[in-house]
Amino acid sequence: MSLSHSAIRPSIRRRLWADRWIYLFLLPTVVLVASYTIWPMFASIWFSLLDWNGFERAGRFIAFGNYAEIFADRLFWNAFANTVIFVVVAVPIRVGLALLLAVVLNAGLPFSRSFRTAIFLPVVTTAAILGVVMRFVLDPASGPVNEVLLQLHLITQPINFLGRAGLSLYTAIGVWVWKWLGITLIYWMAALQTIPADLYDAARIDGAGRWQRFRYITVPLLTPFTIIITLITVVEATNVFDLMLTLTNGGPFFSSEVIDIFVYRQAFAANIPRLGYASAAALLFGVCVMAVIAAQIVVVARLRRRVAEQ
């Protein structure tokens, strides 16, 4: 055991034998991670080269046939574009709105704890159930949202939030921001607490106004948190299966179909499942996401180096 300080360095085999308890302790995690994380990654690559409906035990090897088909599949690119729109629209709204709320709540307002709890409530509840519930809340015929808008005379006709192509994706983005804003709020509040209060006091004495203090103290000191929070939110925005399947199921007419739903439809919701094709789509998109994350990390590292050099 490595805790005992033996004078002679034992051979590797003896060391392994002496540490056998350690490997025994590692065994459950190793088996689980190998089966449910590592093996699926390699299996996906293999599956993506197969024409396989899942009813037969094994598929037929077709090399890059699935990839060739995907590049010409308009519905794949439609889903790809929807996911990009989702990320580009939803992430800035969620991150920005949460920051605004965090700054307001951090100012020591009365009831700020209760406000935080209220905003946080949707976060802990089940996304798939909220998706179903919001279908009723947003219903054009009897849903309460349209009813309120009608009674306030903000609209004259009910809006079909989830049934109108061109609108349903943005409705889903709104519901997603509602569902998850609370967690981003907590991140920002934690980040704001790392800024020492005397900095603000000193700036106030120097005559800096509310906006100036935010612009010249809060924003620069929050930069590292901004990067990590944005990164987390981008990854989450590419992972919206639960909400989208139950809220719109990609509809109407694929107008809100994101990649998750495309893959699910090919693999599990089609009359003849196409496991190979779905794997290829998931893999292609996964590689794109990883590339974006890697690019972000590289850019951030380069920016940091430049700042350090100055």
């Binding site: 590592i38 209220a118 089940t126 009723f136 009813e147 299966f241």
Partner: protein
Amino acid sequence: MSAAASSRSGARFWTWLSVLVLAVLCLVWIYPFLWLVSASFKDPLEIFSKGLSLVPNALRWDNYVRAWATAGFSTYMLNTVLVTVGTVLLVIFHTSLTGYVLGRYNFIGRKLVIGVLVATFIIPAGFAIIPIVDLTKTLGLLNNRWGIILALAGSGHAASILLYAGFFSQLPKELEEAAVVDGAGFFTIFGRIMLPLAGPVTATVAVLTFLAAWNSFLIPLVLTFGAPGQRTLAVGMLAFVGTNETDWPGMAAAATLSLVPVIVFFFFVQRFFVEGVAGAIKA
């Protein structure tokens, strides 16, 4: 009025204006939940007659009876509880063991284990689902709660492992040395001394895993296609509205039943949970 006094009353005005705006925002935020609970006690005509009143004419408990007994939510609840408890126990078991040896021992392969765990953070989760279904089928666990538990406990717990490892690495070395002198073996030291000391970490891991397992959807969905009796609440909910599209009060009662346990749980552990999440982002 002096300038200072007017600026003070101005500040008070802005404070209360912010409070008012926030109160309206929070009302909008929790409105879907209020509407849901209210609808779960109404009769269908009351909902469709377009009243915005949140107070039902009479408490219609039969909506709950219908959801619980007829629509099978008693079974879904039992399945969700079993899957959640099983997942939490299995996750605590395997992440604490691994966190312990990573945090306290240097052994051949340690760097490899840590490297693989960190790498799993970056791999998108969407990859895995088709091979997981295939693996579960091979193990003969399709349409079985154990299949769901293994899949939920098997992926995405690197953070818990690193949390345990960080905690155990800070404990003084004398703890083991004293125990070894007393004749305690490797298992005794872990089970009797180390794991009890790690109570706060275990609580954090349990809370986060509880929420993730209770709210999980994709894995229980694709692993129970052939067995309605094995569905969890989230999966059952989708099936329920698929076949009872016009039963709004039944839907509302079923959704309330599914959400109440996790909301109650959250209110009990709220402080704890918020601090855990906030701590993670600071680190």
